[in-house]
C-alpha cells in the first residue's frame, strides 16, 4: 500500500540522533526508514503513521486529519507501544532487536537493528523449488527458536508469513513486524480489530480473539513452510473451512522431500487446532526427528544410523 509522498520524512531529515537515508517500506499502520545514527551505523526506524488518518504539517508534526480521527489515532499509538513493549523484552538472534524508542513530531518511533539481507518472501520468489530438505529444516528450526522466545514471553506473533521473516546474509532467519503481537497469551480481552494475512492466518483468527494460542502461530509457520515449497500462499483458511481444496504437502511433493517433513507441514496446517503440534517445542522436535533428515527408503544404512542415534542418546 503506497503512502502519499508528502507524508513520509524526506531524505536527509534529522530525526533526533538519526539521519533519514531513505524510505524502506510503507504499510497501513507505519512507515519504515533506513537511517544512520551519529556513528553512521545503519538502523531501521519505524514511524507510527496510520494511513488515511493523519497529515503532516510544515514542521513535520503528525496530526489527525479530522477531529473524529483523533481518538483512533491515539488508540493506534497504544498498539504501537505494544509492539515496542513486546520487542523490548526479547533479545534473541532470531527476533528483530529494538534499539530505541522515542517520541518526536507528535508521533512515536521504533528504532531497530538494521540487517543486510532479504525477506523470505523475496527468496521464495527468487529460488522457487530450489529449497532443499536440510535447508528447510535448518531455516525453520532456527526461526522457531525465535518464536519460542516470543511464546515464552506469553506473546503471540499472529502474523507470521514469508514477508515478515528476514533472512540475513549468513542465512539466519529473523522474525519481523510485531505489529500484531499485541495479544498476550493469557489475555482474553480483545484489544483491536485483528489483522491477518489471507493464506497464512489460522482459521481461528477469522473468528476473533477467542481460541488463539501457540497453535495459531504454528498454523502460520506451516503455511510459510508450504509456500516455501509451492511458491504461492496456501488456500485461505476461511475458504478451506467451506471447501478444502488445499493439496496436502504429502501429496504434492512426495518423493522430493521426506515423508516426515511433508506430514509435519500438513499437521501444522490442520484446520482443527487440536490436531496441530501444540507448542513450538513439539514442532521443533518433529523437525529435528533423527533419521527423518535422510531421504525416504534409506534402507539398512539408515536403520543402523537411527539405531546408533538412539543408543547415543543414552
Amino acid at each position: 500500500m503506497a503512502q502519499p509522498a508528502d507524508l513520509t520524512l524526506p531524505e536527509g531529515y534529522q530525526l533526533s540522533n538519526y539521519r533519514i537515508v531513505r524510505n524502506l517500506s510503507a504499510g497501513g499502520f507505519s512507515t519504515v526508514y533506513l537511517a544512520h545514527d551519529e556513528g553512521e551505523t545503519p538502523v531501521a526506524i519505524k514511524e507510527y503513521l496510520p494511513n488515511g488518518m493523519v497529515v503532516r504539517n510544515g514542521s513535520m508534526e503528525v496530526q489527525a486529519n479530522t477531529p473524529e480521527n483523533l481518538a483512533p489515532f491515539r488508540h493506534g499509538m497504544k498498539c504501537f507501544f505494544e509492539e515496542g513493549r513486546t520487542l523490548a523484552q526479547i533479545n534473541h538472534p532470531n527476533v528483530v532487536r529494538v534499539e530505541n524508542f522515542f517520541r518526536a513530531n507528535e508521533t512515536v518511533y521504533l528504532v531497530m537493528r538494521y540487517m543486510r539481507g532479504r525477506t523470505l518472501d523475496f527468496h521464495i520468489r527468487a529460488n522457487k523449488q530450489y529449497f532443499t530438505e536440510s535447508f528447510m529444516r535448518r531455516l525453520f528450526l532456527s526461526l522457531l527458536n525465535g518464536l519460542r522466545e516470543v511464546h515464552t514471553h506469553k506473546l503471540l506473533h499472529l502474523d507470521i508469513k514469508p514477508a515478515n521473516i528476514y533472512v540475513t546474509m549468513d542465512a539466519t532467519p529473523v522474525l519481523l513486524d510485531f505489529g500484531s503481537a499485541r495479544m498476550t497469551l493469557n489475555h482474553d480481552r480483545p484489544q483491536l480489530v485483528p489483522m491477518y494475512t489471507k493464506g497464512f492466518a489460522a482459521p481461528e483468527q477469522y473468528r476473533g480473539m477467542a481460541g488463539l494460542g501457540p497453535w495459531t502461530d504454528i498454523y502460520s509457520v506451516g503455511a510459510t513452510m508450504y509456500s516455501s515449497l509451492s511458491g504461492t500462499p496456501p488456500q485461505a483458511a476461511d475458504i478451506r473451512e467451506k471447501e478444502d481444496q488445499l493439496t496436502p504437502a504429502f501429496d504434492a511433493w512426495r518423493g522430493k522431500f521426506s515423508d516426515q517433513l511433508l506430514l509435519t507441514i500438513d499437521r501444522c496446517l490442520e484446520l482443527d487446532p487440536l490436531k496441530r503440534p501444540q507448542s513450538v517445542y513439539a514442532l521443533q522436535k518433529a523437525l529435528l526427528a533423527y533419521g527423518s533428515v535422510l531421504p525416504p527408503k534409506s534402507g539398512l544404512f539408515g536403520t543402523l544410523r537411527r539405531t546408533l542415534g538412539r543408543l547415543g542418546e543414552r
Binding site: 491515539r74 507501544f81 533479545n91 534499539e99 524508542f101 517520541r103 512515536v108 489475555h187
Partner: protein, 303 residues
C-alpha cells in the same frame, strides 16, 4: 503562589537476583500519594503482587483525587483492599499455583494533613525536629514479641523470625490494614516510607541519628548507603520514598531530586493488565510513561 516540595525515591536490588520492591507516587490538586510495596520473595511472583498494588493505588488515586479526595483515610483502606482483590483476580485469571503477595505502605497528604495505612512490615516514619515522632507498627511476629516485652527492638533485627509477617496483600485471607489518624504536618517534617531492606539493618536510634543532622537531601543517600553497606551484598531489596514538608503550601507541585529512577518508574511484567478504564484514550502522561518503560526494558537487555 505555588510552593514546592521535594520527593526523594530510591530502590536498590541489594544482594538479590531481582528487585521485587515497587515504589510509586502521584499527585493531583492539593493531594499527594506515596507508596512502597515489597513483593514477598518467599512466594512466587512477588514482584507481580507489588506491581499490581502500586498500579491499583495510583489508578484509583488518579480517578478519585482528580475530583477531590473527601476522605483520604477511607480512600486508602479502599485502595489497599482493591489491590488485594486485584491480586486475587490476577491469580485466578492466570491460574497461578500460588497467590503472589506483597506488603504495602501508603500515605496521602492532603493540604497539610497526612494519613497513612499499611499491611505487613514496610514502614512509614514521621520525623520531627530530628526525632522520631511516629512510625507504623509492623504486622510481624517479632513486633508482637516486642509489644509483649519478650524481646528488645535490637534483638528483633537478628531474630530468626524477623521476616515472618501476618498481614499482606494477596493470599486467601483478608489483610489486616492499620490506619493512622490524620496528622498535621509542621515545617521541616520528614515523611519516609520504606521496605525492610532499609530499616532492617538499623535500630530506631541509628535511623534517627542518620536523618537528624542534615537536610533530607543530604541525609537520605547516606542512610541508604549505610544500610546497603551493612548488608554487605547480602541484603534485601531496599526501597524508599520520602519528602520533607515545606512551609505554607497553597498548591502542590513537585520536583524530583536525587532520584535514580525516573518518576512513574513501574516495570510491567508480561501479562499484567494495563489500566482498564478509558481503554481508547491515552494521555500524554501515559505516552511518556510507556516510552520510559520501553526504553528501560531495552537498556536492561542491551547490557
Amino acid at each position: 503562589m505555588a510552593a514546592r516540595y521535594e520527593i526523594f525515591q530510591e530502590s536498590l536490588i541489594g544482594g538479590r537476583k531481582s528487585n521485587q520492591d515497587r515504589v510509586g507516587y502521584a499527585c493531583a490538586n492539593d493531594t499527594l500519594l506515596m507508596i512502597v510495596a515489597d513483593g514477598m520473595g518467599g512466594h512466587l511472583n512477588g514482584e507481580i503482587a507489588a506491581e499490581i498494588a502500586v498500579r491499583v493505588l495510583i489508578e484509583r488515586f488518579n480517578r478519585e483525587a482528580r475530583i477531590v479526595l473527601t476522605s483520604p483515610a477511607e480512600f486508602l483502606r479502599g485502595a489497599l483492599e482493591a489491590a488485594h482483590l486485584a491480586i486475587g483476580e490476577y491469580t485466578r485469571r492466570h491460574k497461578l499455583a500460588e497467590y503472589p503477595r506483597t506488603t504495602c505502605v501508603a500515605c496521602v497528604v492532603k493540604q497539610n494533613i497526612a494519613y497513612w495505612c499499611h499491611a505487613g512490615d514496610s514502614r512509614l516514619y514521621l520525623l520531627r525536629n530530628g526525632r522520631l515522632y511516629k512510625r507504623t507498627s509492623d504486622h510481624s511476629r517479632v513486633q508482637r514479641m516486642i509489644d509483649a516485652g519478650l524481646i528488645r527492638e535490637e534483638q528483633a533485627l537478628t531474630h530468626p523470625d524477623r521476616n515472618k509477617i501476618y498481614s499482606c496483600l494477596g493470599g486467601d485471607q483478608l489483610p489486616a490494614i492499620s490506619m493512622s489518624d490524620g496528622t498535621a504536618l509542621k515545617d521541616g517534617d520528614i515523611l519516609l516510607l520504606c521496605s525492610d531492606g532499609l530499616w532492617g539493618m538499623l535500630t530506631s536510634a541509628e535511623f534517627e541519628a542518620a536523618i537528624a543532622q542534615e537536610s533530607l537531601k543530604l541525609a537520605l543517600p547516606k542512610l541508604i548507603r549505610k544500610s546497603n553497606d551493612l548488608a554487605a551484598g547480602q541484603g534485601d531489596n531496599l526501597s524508599v520514598i520520602a519528602l520533607q514538608w515545606p512551609g505554607s503550601v497553597e498548591k502542590l507541585e513537585y520536583i524530583d531530586s536525587a532520584v535514580t529512577m525516573p518518576a512513574h518508574f513501574l516495570t510491567r511484567p508480561a501479562g499484567v493488565p494495563e489500566n482498564r478504564h478509558n481503554a481508547d484514550d491515552i494521555s500524554d502522561e501515559e505516552i511518556e510513561r510507556a516510552i520510559v518503560e520501553i526504553q528501560l526494558a531495552i537498556q536492561k537487555l542491551s547490557k
